[in-house]
Symmetry: C2
Subunit: 246 residues, 2 copies
């Protein structure tokens, strides 16, 4: 059992709580048994398991390298307020983009981790085929993003791309790109839905970048009937994704 927070392996694990540390190693942390089970069901590779001293390795994790650590060490690595006592170190997956059938979600510069995670979860639920993250978007491997995905990050292909460049390929592949905006936009439920749609949503405050809107095939908006100024971006994205699937 590791009992020193100065231990070198502990220092390495702790670095994974920063984006820099994750990018240097292509590894990230996932906490709690529900998320680890979702990873086990997927193609993602779990490198090792870290257990708090009073925990035993769950049967589902049999065969994985596991290390016990003291309470103090565990809390120095954990990023939750009430940790469940189990953390997995998982290898990032870099896949080449392929466009199969099915709608795409394109995310431009969404900043709130809870919003991004929820959007990935909803894209999975709605049966979208992939999520493309523009470079200005919050880091996918942020612990709050991972928690909000509820495991969907292991189930739907996710790509980090330059959206402006990638949109050319998407349009060539036969997709109709729907950007969301408040101005110069048609009502979403009066916009004809084509065969395959790439839905493009944007930053919580600024919306979708103007350059990207200029490259879109349709610009749509969700009507506001009351006094609210706007919808939360993950709610708006959910409404549009389910509309497109309906």
């Amino acid at each position: 059992m590791i009992t020193s927070i100065q231990n070198n392996r502990v220092k390495e694990w702790r670095k994974l709580s920063t984006k820099k540390g994750r990018l240097q190693t292509d590894l990230f942390l996932v906490e709690g048994m529900h998320l680890i089970e979702e990873a086990l069901k997927s193609e993602w590779e779990i490198k090792e398991i870290i257990l708090k001293e009073d925990k035993v390795l769950p049967t589902a994790c049999t065969g994985l390298p596991a290390t016990s650590v003291s309470n103090q060490v565990f809390h120095s690595i954990s990023q939750t307020n009430s940790p469940q006592g189990i953390i997995a170190i998982i290898a990032m997956q870099e896949q080449d983009i392929t466009y199969s059938n099915g709608d795409l979600l394109l995310i431009d510069a969404v900043q709130d981790p809870g919003n991004l995670g929820t959007m990935i979860r909803t894209a999975d639920a709605a049966g979208f085929s992939a999520v493309l993250l523009g470079r200005g978007t919050v880091d996918l491997y942020n612990d709050k993003v991972i928690r909000a995905t509820q495991g969907s990050l292991f189930h739907i292909p996710l790509y980090t791309v330059d959206l402006l460049e990638e949109m050319k390929a998407i349009k060539k592949a036969g997709y109709s790109v729907w950007a969301t905006a408040l101005e110069n936009a048609t009502l979403y439920h009066e916009t004809p839905v084509g065969n395959q749609t790439a839905l493009l949503v944007g930053n919580e405050g600024a919306g979708v970048d103007q350059e990207l809107i200029a490259e879109s095939d349709q610009v749509v908006h969700i009507p506001i009937y009351g006094k609210a100024e706007s919808l939360n971006v993950s709610v708006a994205t959910g409404i549009l994704m389910y509309y497109l699937k309906g």
Copy 2:
């Protein structure tokens, strides 16, 4: 200017960060100019303004009683990490329920403040006529709820009720109650929409209470096409509210 955190008024203000303190006084705190502007546009009564020492009273607040406090005092009252330096004390409104035209949102035991606030914001945006909060729901005047509403709590009537009792009156008033559930439910987009709908959504983990489901006219669910186990409750509620309005 008040400079002591032991000052009696400061102690009273600080009590408003707890549910108990709010219920004893029928007052609550709202932070930041955007939310205060939304309150000013509404019928809600702002009792007073608290300003951090380096802030001047905004023109929009002219005529309201205002008190300057030291940085230390302000931070002892503020519930945000990066406070904007202005807080309003607002009186709770207890209204008698009236059912006008328009759809209703019924919320049973939602626990996450961000979810509840987002649902109120979306109900306002979707033009619903009121939101009814079951008694097991997180406190409406929690600061995180208020922030997530983005001011919509001042714009749409909100009632805290016993849902089981209130549903009788709702049905008498001609509403069709749609409960959401994963089992024994029809697909929402294959369920006939009546004239006026009361949409009933439930707790993040347990869903809608079985007793309430038994009293509902329709039980609907949103299909999951991918590997996600469920949708976030505020996203699901948004999808259904906009479907009902469409």
